[in-house]
Amino acid sequence: MDGNQMLTAGLFLAVVALTIFITFRASRNTSGTTDFYAGGRSFSGFQNGLAIGGDYMSAASFLGISGLIALSGYDGFLYSIGFLVAWLVALLLVAEVLRNSGRYTMADQLAYRMRQRPVRTAAAASTVVVSIFYLLAQMVGAGALVTLLLGVESEALKNLTIAVVGLLMIFYVTVGGMKGTTWVQIVKAVLLMIGSALIVILVLAQFDFNLSDLLGSAAANSGKDGFLDPGLKYGEDTTSKLNFVSLGLALVLGTAGLPHILIRFYTVPTSRDARKSVLWAIGLIGAFYLMTLVLGFGAAALLDTGLGSDVQTSGGNLASPLLAEEVGGGPDTVGGAVLLAVIAAVAFATILAVVAGLTLTSSASVAHDLYNSVFRKGAASEKQELKVARIAAGVIGVIAIALAIPAQKLNVAFLVALAFAIAASANLPSIIYNMFWRRFNTRGAVWSIYGGLISSVGLVFFSPVVSGKLNADGSNAALLPKSVDFSWFPLENPGIVSIPLAFFLGWLGTVTSREPAAEERYTELEVRALTGAGAEGAVQH
């Protein structure tokens, strides 16, 4: 190991040590379920806004989007826009009403007026599936990062990294619960904003802060026609255009259906704090995505992104760290090595914070919805429920490790977009119907959740992503070997079909059944959602 690699390894270890320290501190005042699942509901709007930013600005954003812009130019920017505009759905329709009507999980607000067991089972299933897809993306990013830094193309090393990330996330969640997870996310959000701003300033300085010059150099250096115009990645034919629209829909409607984002609204004392946290998050996330634009075009302008380059072979995932090395002085300089190490450590912190949030969310849903409500009919003690939550975190961690290893050649932003499509299809329709439609009932919710979940996952399975996709040079771009091709769904993103289908099934299930109790209790749900009357309060320690 040379000096640069020692530095990198040292910074990685420092990040890990910091997060472990935070987790142990948080574990000291985590006792009951409200602490474990919702951080005692004692975070301020600003703190939670930072934590939401930390939860949301994942490896997909930092590594994936800048990589897509570096490789495909303008088309990568769509991700940034969809990811940001989506927050308006969360702000206007979801955050406050959810805070007032639920306790710990996404299923709570459905269970408030419906038959608990079917809706909790359905919501837990979709929570776990969405979270696992999202986890895969983060772990793939972690594997790519470590390989780059140690300069060895070793499958064993990548797999080891994935396993270590998995073990760390199990540790954060089982020991620190929501408080530990939240503080890890807050620290990460601050590190990520500072790290990105630093690189952005250094990139812009090379172009005398002239954005037009930066864009011009990016277009010239990329060697691709129309690099600054929409359509390079998606504009070839009608299928790829529809693919783009499908992706756009999934992005804008997915955020407010992501379980790990939804449960963050429970960590504040009131719905007004939930609103404030979303406002802070919008400011932070918006600023960050504007920076990814500079990172992506900066990488296109200053790095080699042609066939066979490090940026291209990593699916774009390494564009940001390599850009940091370049603006620090280039490879084989001290400045380059230091900046590369710093940015890689920030990216690693990013990944750790997001995986912790995802693991917590799935384990909360398994313990609270499935174990306590469905299996034990609400009779489990807090202690039993927490024990199950911790075991579930371990099991989910192991599953994620096992699935991440074969998924490594997929772009992380693309993987996250799939998670968004599933969330928009399986979760958002029932959340919206439940809050705004008195007639909505158990059958509608169950049909909508399973319909959205099965159709979105099923369409991806029969899409070119899984089988039959080729790169421009004829090499295999699908998950399965080239010899297998059973794809029949032409789009890579299922949103354009599965989202409307889930809304339709929610309507159909509702109008074909009657559930007077659900309609009656809507009165209570609505009063509580809009006024906060009777909502869960903060824990006093």
Binding site: L78, L228, P230, V245, G248, G378, T531, G532
Partner: protein, 114 residues
């Protein structure tokens, strides 16, 4: 016990009472009157951007200043409108929603024991 868990029992009647008050009806119509049109507006604005990006290639590729084209400006405008809607909603709810919600919550606190 089982039925209680399967679907929670009929609730405290104070909610029916609050639901029927003119204040609640006003709160509800103010809330829906803002969020429904705003949601429709920003979704149409966003989808317009998505569709133009794909099917109005020449318009979006038109250079405005230097290498800055319509597509980039359109994208940045999506950021601007997002910030703007968030800011307007925040002011609107502080001024028109929160006072009513607080009053109803106070009523709930004083009536729930009855």
């Amino acid at each position: 016990m089982t039925s209680t868990h399967d679907q929670a029992d009929r609730h405290n009647p104070v909610y029916d009472h609050l639901h029927a008050t003119p204040e609640f009806q006003e709160l509800r119509s103010r809330y829906r009157g803002f969020v429904f049109p705003a949601t429709v507006a920003f979704l149409i604005w966003y989808l317009l951007y998505v569709v133009l990006s794909m099917w109005a290639h020449d318009f979006m590729s038109h250079r405005l200043v230097g290498n800055i084209n319509v597509a980039l400006v359109f994208g940045i405008l999506q950021f601007v409108t997002t910030f703007l809607i968030a800011w307007v909603y925040s002011n609107y709810s502080n001024k028109h929603l929160d006072p009513l919600a607080r009053k109803l919550n106070d009523d709930y606190e004083s009536q729930r024991g009855i």
